[in-house]
């Protein structure tokens, strides 16, 4: 029994990219404890709950963006899709349309964006930076246009207070087993996409096209479809985050999700996902999102201002990648010499 456990543990450690994940979790622990020492409230149960809830957004965005980073691409439209999802669902609900239908419409719109991204990048070979820059503006534009360039009214005005509360509780304010629903939603999606990436054929193909797209193609991998799938994952994540933001505010905000695509990149990169493709584990993204949120939360608790927060986070991002590069080049030198 013990032996079996040990070998399983070894297998886990031996997984490619696990080193970066462990580093990220270690960093998370250090940051968390350091803030806790400065301010005991950081350790309080309520703060932990809040932490989990607010990191959920970054986790989802990070997962979506990580899928693209692993394929060697990027999705700049995630943040705008978040805004679009929030605005579409909120607008429909203020018109008295049932939340489930509103959610479905928002989801379909986001998926359409994802497919367009995937086709532009996968089939027409547009540089992903340019293709998704386009859809970024288009979907932000759509977010503005949905309600005639205005934020929406409270969703309760359309679907009634009871249904509005139910929607808000489901996505943001409610708890299940003592933990905010937001985190459960994020966790379930995380596990789903974790499973998809590490255990299925699609996941394997996502790593393959990020590693060497020509080799993948010659091995019979459908590069276009795989790219589209990766962009669909980020679209789903963006849509859910849009719904969460809508539930949090109880209304649609046109600027919802602004800059989130970059938070996603940051979460992935802190967690050891190479922006050059082919490597990285979603577990790292989890750690990255947690690091990000812990920093924000901790800096908030000790009274640091927004400017300082941004500054520190920027340094952490660069530093974590720098660390990775230094470690890797050290490895490389060792290998080429022996």
């Amino acid at each position: 029994m013990n032996e079996k456990k040990q070998s399983a543990f070894k297998g886990l450690l031996g997984t490619r990219g696990m080193g970066a994940v462990i580093t990220a979790f270690a960093g998370l622990l250090i940051i968390y404890v350091a803030f806790g020492i400065i301010d005991r409230n950081v350790f309080s149960g309520q703060n932990v709950m809040n932490l989990l809830r607010s990191m959920s957004k970054y986790l989802l965005i990070g997962v979506g963006q990580s899928y693209l980073l692993i394929t060697g691409n990027i999705d700049l439209s995630i943040g705008s899709m978040v805004g679009m999802s929030a605005m579409i669902s909120a607008t429909l609900m203020t018109m008295g349309i049932h939340p489930i239908i509103a959610i479905l419409v928002a989801l379909i719109c986001c998926l359409c964006c994802g497919v367009v991204n995937g086709i532009l990048v996968g089939k027409f070979k547009l540089p992903p930076f340019i293709a998704t820059l386009g859809t970024m503006f288009v979907s932000r534009g759509a977010a503005y246009m949905v309600n005639n360039n205005r934020n929406t009214d409270a969703i309760a005005t359309g679907i009634g207070k009871e249904a509005g509360d139910r929607f808000q509780n489901f996505f943001y304010y409610g708890k299940t087993f003592g933990i905010f629903n937001t985190f459960w939603i994020a966790l379930i999606l995380f596990l789903l996409f974790f499973f998809l990436l590490s255990k299925t054929r699609t996941g394997r193909h996502i790593y393959a096209i990020g590693s060497n797209v020509d080799a993948a193609k010659l091995s019979g991998v459908n590069v276009v479809n795989t790219t589209i799938k990766a962009y669909l994952v980020s679209a789903v994540c963006a849509c859910v985050v849009g719904l969460i933001l809508c539930a949090q505010a109880g209304m649609g905000n046109m600027e919802a999700g602004n800059m989130y695509e970059m938070y996603g990149v940051a979460a992935g990169v802190i967690g050891g996902i190479s922006p050059l493709g082919g490597t990285g584990l979603l577990l790292g993204t989890f750690a990255g999102a947690a690091v990000w949120q812990t920093l924000e939360n901790g800096l908030n608790m000790i009274g640091a201002q927004v400017g300082i927060q941004r500054l520190v986070i920027g340094i952490i991002v660069v530093f974590s990648v720098l660390l990775d590069v230094v470690v890797r080049s050290g490895n490389f030198r060792k290998k080429s010499n022996s």
């Binding site: 255990k199 299925t200 193909h205 790593y207 590693s211 080799a215 091995s219 082919g278 290998k335």
Partner: protein, 498 residues
């Protein structure tokens, strides 16, 4: 097994294949020979479904194919092992072998099953590789073995190997040949494309020769002489495969004393003289490339002196070396030697901008034109214009551009690192002539090559390295390949035990 008749393939503006016929029987190794641009790769890409033919007929195992997709070709049993290895470096051996046809149970990947199957195939081939290892961590030779294993795992019966030995050591080549013989005995047909003619006799049964997109001849390998083969490939007699020019040895130009840099450059001492080509022989990984890089200032040195005309010079970075008159034509043309997306003009001008610019840094178009014209004329670079991208040139012409960059400067020492790798016989001779010309001009030439015949044929003096040290120095005239090989395998005890 395969019969291709009167195949025609047109690319915009070029007839890449003109009535080419090709036949492969089971249990044989067929060498497909020809200079670069002869159409060998195009023909094989048609066979493997990457390109579609514009005319002619193609039969694989008696079945006629009008159009063929890569997937169909794979299903028909055709596998291609590419010159530039096509592997996902970040994935494991197993993952690469099963890429695109993973075994699944519902949606779950059956990792264990795939792993054991991969291990079984590797075992059959007697290849010692852990199927769980990441491919990027394996040496190139092992990566190639993985490609072969991958081909076998899809039950390929027709294997196309494009320059399989270009980056292998002698020992690894033996290992590869052992596997090829095994495949042959199992009834596979193998198409073998190589520029290294001397290795053909070890394995090849028949040859097909192509030139300029046309079929020239084919026949039993043993009924042809090497000279006939070469004559058919280049379409003219090459008088000498290794033209050597005698020069009187002049004064010492360049000296390296006690150079150390990392583990593969250890206590290197040598000198170069005017009117002399010094060959550097050795196995892959002997530290020759590393030595050139340390001299040129690419990699940091831990200790050592570099003297030019008996004066010590400091080289911290390539710029220092270039200023002192030491230049390097690196091993990997596409990666280190050229900006492939820039035109020939820009490539030629790049290291000479200081000479081409006026005082405020504006490039003189006139001077640039002159430089390009001179380079194209002197080096016989075959190109319609200097404005086309370096990527579009053949390997031999690319190499000439790499060399041409440096000739505008009055260099004292020119270092060639594997200048003839992957280029055809005709172009090789042109490169040799170029080295001879430099030698006649009194420039010291350092010539690193893994191909023993050319080192012995072109260099005047040969320095042999093994494991980062110089293990021998011989005059090319008085030595044999065996002697050089003996020095090249003089490992230290510790290494032998491994």
């Amino acid at each position: 097994m395969v019969s291709m008749k009167n195949i025609v393939k047109n690319f915009p503006g070029v007839k890449a294949l003109d009535n080419v016929s090709f036949e492969l029987r089971s249990g044989e190794v067929m060498a497909l020979l020809g200079e670069n641009g002869a159409g060998k790769s195009t023909l094989m890409k048609i066979l493997s479904g990457v390109y579609t033919k514009d005319g002619g007929s193609m039969e694989i195992f008696g079945k006629t194919y009008e159009t063929l997709t890569p997937k169909q070709a794979q299903a028909a049993g055709v596998a291609i092992i590419h010159q530039e290895l096509n592997m996902c470096r970040h994935l494991s051996v197993t993952e690469n072998m099963f890429l695109g046809r993973e075994k699944v149970d519902g949606v779950l990947l059956k990792n264990n099953e795939m792993e054991s199957e991969a291990a079984e195939i590797l075992g059959q081939l007697k290849i010692d590789i852990d199927p769980r290892q990441t491919v990027g961590d394996l040496p190139v030779s092992k990566q190639q073995m993985v490609e072969i294993a991958k081909a076998l795992s899809i039950h390929a019966k027709i294997l196309i190997m494009d320059e399989p030995t270009s980056s292998l050591t002698a020992k690894e080549i033996d290992e590869l040949f052992r596997i090829i013989r095994k495949l042959k005995a199992d009834g596979c047909g193998i198409v073998y494309i190589s520029h290294r003619l001397e290795e053909l006799q070890a394995i090849v049964d028949r040859v097909t020769i192509m030139r300029d997109g046309q079929y020239i001849t084919s026949g039993e390998f043993h009924s042809m002489t090497m000279d006939q083969i070469i004559a058919n490939m280049v379409g003219r007699e090459i008088k000498e495969q290794f033209p050597r020019i005698s020069c009187s040895k002049g004064k010492k130009v360049f000296e390296v004393r006690g150079l150390n840099a990392g583990k593969l450059v250890r206590d290197i001492n040598f000198s170069l003289y005017e009117g002399e080509i010094v060959g550097f022989a050795g196995l892959m990984g002997a530290g020759r490339t590393e030595t050139t890089r340390a001299i040129f200032g690419v990699d940091p040195k831990t200790s050592g002196q570099i003297l030019l005309d008996d004066k010590e010079i400091q080289i911290q970075c390539p710029m220092d070396a270039i200023r002192a008159g030491i230049v390097l034509a690196p091993e990997d043309r596409k990666k280190d030697g050229l900006c492939t997306k820039l035109s020939i003009r820009h490539n030629l001008a790049l290291p000479n901008l200081d000479l081409l610019c006026n005082r405020i840094g504006v490039i003189s178009r006139n001077k640039e034109d002159q430089l390009c014209e001179k380079a194209v004329q002197n080096l016989l670079i075959k190109t319609p214009s200097v404005e086309i991208n370096a990527a579009n040139l053949s390997g031999g012409n690319q190499q000439k551009v790499v060399v041409g960059k440096w000739l505008a400067r009055n260099s004292r020492v020119v270092i060639f690192d594997e200048p003839t790798r992957g280029i055809d016989v005709g172009a090789k001779v042109e490169i040799y002539n170029l080295m001879n010309k430099l030698k006649q001009e009194g420039i010291a030439v350092m010539f690193v090559s893994s191909e023993m015949p050319e080192v012995l044929g072109i260099a005047d003096r040969v320095i042999i390295m093994c494991d980062g040290r110089i293990t021998g120095e011989v005059m090319a005239r008085d030595t044999t390949q065996n002697e050089v090989l003996k020095y090249a395998t003089e490992f230290e005890k510790k290494q032998q035990a491994r």
